[in-house]
Amino acid sequence: MVEVKQLKKRFDRQTILDGVDLTLRDGEVLCIIGKSGTGKSVLLKNIIGLLKPDNGTIYIDGEEITQLTEDELNTRVRTKMGMVFQYGALWDSMTVEENITLALKFRNHFTHQERKKIAQESLELVGLSHIAKEYPDELSGGMKKRVAIARAIAMKPKYLLYDEPTTGLDPVLSNIINDLIIKLNRELGITSMVITHDINSVEKIAHRVGMLYQGKIVHMCDAKDMWHQDNEIFNKFIHGDTQLK
């Protein structure tokens, strides 16, 4: 379980997160929605330790992580948590296979053959077993995101954080990514937190949905009940009301 308590983060004079409280329960898919620029990606980066919060605490499986050093984060947090970046963030000077096996090479004592096998299995899981030798710039946007997911799941994470996984994709590709998130959650038991603006995706993949607004989680509910909520801000956002400030 991941617990975030009163998380605050400022950049220069601008407050981005102003006391975020949320819980990511084991086995669930939690979607965080909110307008662009509200700090959704900043929230994910704090949880995985890419950014240090100014205030507040983050517990991962009961361990407080905000005071950990980079080496401690590597051994205690990032061994069980992966992240899928908005544009994939694939290492563009390496092939797809090298992208997937690189971290295995440094983290675990797998042989070359074992690493190749894991890469192949991960690519099969995302439906891209034929592109192992391609370079990222030879792939489409949707393929890059699926490779990024393959790279993350090769590490067998307990938690996976997705930063806008369907942004910029057509509806068909969006559905492929959504199906993949559901598959990884159901078949591999990966607990997921998904940052998105895509309400269709939320309806399809989420167990719960929370809304980040003005630096706080202003509403949290079960995804299946999301159209029947009485929170005004939440309702305005999911209905695309232009009056929402």
């Binding site: 590597n74 051994t75 990032r78 963030a89 971290a103 790279r151």
Partner: protein
């Protein structure tokens, strides 16, 4: 007016010390990471090929012309009373002590520092460095340390390589300018040669190698947003590496003069 001036000076001083602090931290982390070098052997070899092997053509051209120019300038300016063979010694010392390491350093500041800064900068703006961190790979160990190690080895070698080519082309130039024979040229070199001149060249190459790679890595890691950020990082890396090479050249020359 005075208050504004003091505020501006204070702002720039704070910015300067912030940058200096971050550069120092990166340098310390990179040197500490050298103990893990065996794990990153393939990255070190890649960096060595990029810094060393791919720099050979430009080093051949620049050092050849450096020697040719020295041959012409010294040959036409030594007085008629000075024996012609003295030119060999003058060229040798000028190249080993200054021209070889400094010109090679400045050329490599342009080629290597800029290349490193733009590569790491592009990785930074496309979140590839964040992706390394999320997969528990330390970017300093993976990106900076291999380049530092490769620079410390490859650049002194390139300096010696450049020295050799420049001395030979210096002879060719002297032959055509003042009709100096190979025997005379060697006599001049033997007359002034001391082993410490070679060590000076190597030491300068080693220290310039550290500066060239660290400045490239530092400005790459500090890259701001977008293509403009990468461009700025690249420019800063070249400018600062070049300035530091000239400053270090003076310091090393002065220190070694007192030691030797």
């Amino acid at each position: 007016m005075i208050k504004k001036l003091i505020t501006t000076i204070g702002h720039f001083a704070a910015l300067y010390f912030q940058q200096l602090g971050r550069l120092t931290i990166l340098s310390v982390q990179s040197f500490l990471a050298i103990r893990k070098a065996p794990r990153y052997l393939s990255q070190i070899i890649d960096a060595f090929v990029y810094i060393g092997r791919y720099s050979i053509p430009i080093i051949i051209i620049t050092s050849a012309f450096m020697g040719l120019v020295l041959g012409v300038q010294i040959g036409t300016q030594i007085s008629p009373e000075t024996p012609r063979w003295a030119e060999g010694g003058l060229i040798l010392r000028a190249i080993l002590l200054e021209m070889g390491p400094v010109v090679t350093g400045l050329i490599l500041a342009g080629r290597v520092s800029s290349g490193i800064a733009s590569e790491i900068g592009a990785m930074k703006v496309t979140e590839q460095i964040d992706a390394l961190r999320t997969t528990a790979i330390n970017p300093v160990e993976f990106l900076v340390m291999p380049r530092l190690v490769a620079g410390m080895i490859a650049i002194p070698v390139l300096v010696i390589y450049a020295d050799t080519i420049a001395i030979f082309s210096g002879f060719v130039s002297s032959y055509f300018t003042i009709d100096l024979t190979w025997t005379g040229f060697v006599k001049g070199m033997r007359h002034v040669f001391v082993a410490t001149d070679v060590y000076t060249s190597i030491i300068k190459g080693f220290i310039f190698g550290i500066a060239i790679t660290l400045f490239g890595c530092y400005f790459g890691m500090e890259t701001g947003h977008g293509a403009r950020g990468v461009g700025k990082a690249t420019t800063h890396a070249v400018v600062w590496a070049s300035i530091i090479i000239l400053i270090l050249d003076y310091i090393i020359s002065a220190v070694l003069f007192f030691i030797w």
